[in-house]
Symmetry: C2
Subunit: 142 residues, 2 copies
């Protein structure tokens, strides 16, 4: 099955990485502008992207505190975020997005575009958590 896998090393403990994803304000430091409430298992969350005047809903399928988040996104894709704490100083964040239609004539473009989004979001997350930089996001030009 076609999927995208992206992994980045973050020089922070897993609970801090987890927190910036599930917190509805902190997410605005690196990814979407905000989410409608704190992410938790079973909730449907509205994600806002103010810069593009856009929003969409995701369904949080599973949450393991500081370890794993699974959600279903706008395209019915399933995203699994796994945090692997290496020691108290660093965490590997791994994102797998699955559900791409192998018969879609635009499959390659969609996979590449999706990869772009994840690498960008995770790099912005790293800059936010490690260096308190909140102005890297929303600069990709399509």
């Amino acid at each position: 099955m076609m999927k995208n896998l992206t992994k980045l090393k973050i020089e922070k403990p897993a609970n801090e990485v987890f927190e910036v994803i599930v917190d509805p304000v902190k997410i605005g430091g690196f990814w979407f502008s905000s989410s409608s409430e704190r992410w938790a298992e079973g909730k449907v969350i509205t994600l806002r992207y103010d810069e593009y005047n856009a929003e969409g809903k995701i369904e949080i399928v599973k949450v393991e505190e500081n370890r794993k988040i699974v959600f279903r996104d706008f395209d019915e894709h399933v995203v699994t975020i796994t945090l692997e704490e290496q020691n108290t100083l660093s965490t590997i964040i791994e994102v797998i997005e699955e559900g791409f239609d192998e018969n879609d004539p635009e499959l390659i473009e969609k996979l590449i575009d999706n990869k772009e989004g994840w690498v960008y979001a995770l790099t912005c997350l790293k800059a936010y958590l490690e260096f308190d930089v909140t102005k890297l996001r929303a600069a990709l030009v399509k």
Copy 2:
């Protein structure tokens, strides 16, 4: 022809973006560890990646000061970097990598991997130039 195109807005004038790419020390702030000398048309440059104890050569095909750099890389791909200054405060950097073999059974994986590299490098460049952050690079996990 299969290619990757990546564009990012950098809140700096074009000459500063140009400089961090062609300067053999500054490149170490966001991309490779260093290059063997200043990039200039016709030169063959050795790029070092200390973290992976790796190096490779590229050939600089064309340089237009503060506007464009074209080089041929290790895989015989051609990379065109274009800087479009919007005003004295911001620049759109566009990178096109061409030369992927459409009959390669690993084409999709190679395109996605290549896209990952460019999004990561350009985001690190933005963090370096705008926020003086030099420790974002070399954290992708393969």
